[in-house]
Amino acid sequence: MKKGIQAKDLINIGLFTAIYFVVFFATGMLGYIPIMMLALPFLCPFVAGIPFMLFLTRVHTFGMVSIMGTILALLMVLTGHPWQLLPIGILMAVLGDLVLRAGNYKDWRSIRLGYIVFSEWLAGMMVPLFFMRDSYFAQIRAGYGDAYADALLSVTPPWVFYLTIVLIVFGALAGAYLGKATLKKHFKRAGIA
């Protein structure tokens, strides 16, 4: 096997990132049903587990997963999503890549953990809500007084953010199993995994 990232690998990264993103986006559309919105941090990494596991069968060297996360975050920022996604997305992709490399992109336990870490890039979407919360409450405190601001703070707790992270973990874990099962059932038989 050739060392380093070849041009063919770069094409594969682009191809699988496109599939990953479309699947992710299509699942995210369910967020228009209000109840489903809360389930998105679980559902998106769950369904996207299929393309990601297929992508991993093409990965043989460090950097490919990092690049995938980078262009994913780049695309999100270019389409007007919070810029914090870029540093967080790259960080999570590199960390996930490191975990995956520890298992040489083949060991199931490091694949499982690596996909969970990678999927946390989605949490970058929530970070500005945190900053926003502070600035927003500072503004309310100045405008309408402490009592009002405290009442409002108590009903919008920060645990939503932590819940998102936990939901992503479970979604990615289930997605990894889903992807593995799909590979075994369909893609190996068709000869493309």
Binding site: I5, L10, I11, I13, I19, F21, L78, S135
Partner: protein, 239 residues
């Protein structure tokens, strides 16, 4: 709206450098996310919030521009007047919805403007001019190339199913995954392998700088917009 809208044949009335659009998108996103709708920092925020409106109008996207202005004014109005005059659950909903809208919608609208008025080849040329490494630019270009293919294959699978009298009603998620997603992925991967071979024979793997036919230059209008938005950004930081 969204990634599929990356235009391939859009003719702008005036040509903005994609780098200008990227800068504006990022600045609008940063500025709208923080700060207040009261006090002095509201002035640069209002200026930048109106940027997508002006740009969309200039592209003759009147419907989108006016809709954006309506949503923006409505949510700012709700945030500044109704929030203090309501109580209980209604107040909570108004606070969350209006504050989310005033902060996220301008950035997303800029993103929509960027995506719908920039050709992919222009964006790639701009990314190369920004000295992005080719390990980023090539996969990014391939990804852009593949969005239409993925959607096309998805439609093809749906057509094939309909032809055989198969219908997937909503709710059956596992059947959807198995019958739609997997054939779509198989087709796309096969196409990708062919594309990969074709691109390699055309010298994609070759080292060295690539040239582009796109004429990407910072012009007078770019300079003007960059100056105004950077000034507004600086003002926002200082205030």
């Amino acid at each position: 709206m969204g990634f599929a809208a990356f235009s391939s044949n859009h003719q702008s009335l005036y040509r903005l450098d994609p780098r200008t659009k990227i800068l504006l998108t990022v600045l609008v996103g940063i500025v709208m996310m923080g700060g207040s709708i009261h006090g002095p920092s509201a002035i640069p925020r209002a200026l930048l919030a109106l940027a997508p409106f002006g740009l969309l109008l200039a592209e003759r996207k009147y419907r989108q521009g006016l809709l954006y202005l309506f949503v923006l004014l409505l949510s700012v109005g709700v945030e500044s007047y109704l929030v203090t005059r309501t109580q209980g659950a209604l107040n909570l909903i108004l606070v969350i919805v209006s504050s989310l809208f005033t902060r996220f919608v301008p950035g997303l609208m800029m993103g929509y403007y960027l995506v719908s008025t920039t050709r992919i080849s222009e964006l790639i040329a701009a990314l190369e001019k920004m000295h992005m490494p080719r390990q980023i630019v090539i996969p990014f270009a391939v990804m852009m190339r593949f969005f239409p293919t993925v959607i096309e294959e998805n439609n093809a699978v749906r057509e094939a199913m309909r032809m055989r009298g198969l219908h997937l009603s909503g709710g059956n998620v596992s059947a959807y995954l198995e019958y739609m997603l997997i054939p779509m992925m198989m087709c796309t991967v096969k196409i990708g392998e062919e594309l990969s071979a074709a691109a390699l024979t055309r010298g994609l793997g070759r080292p060295g700088a690539r040239t582009s036919l796109c004429d990407i230059k910072l012009r007078g209008l770019d300079a003007l917009l960059i100056t105004i938005s950077l000034l507004a950004f600086a003002l926002w930081i200082v205030l």
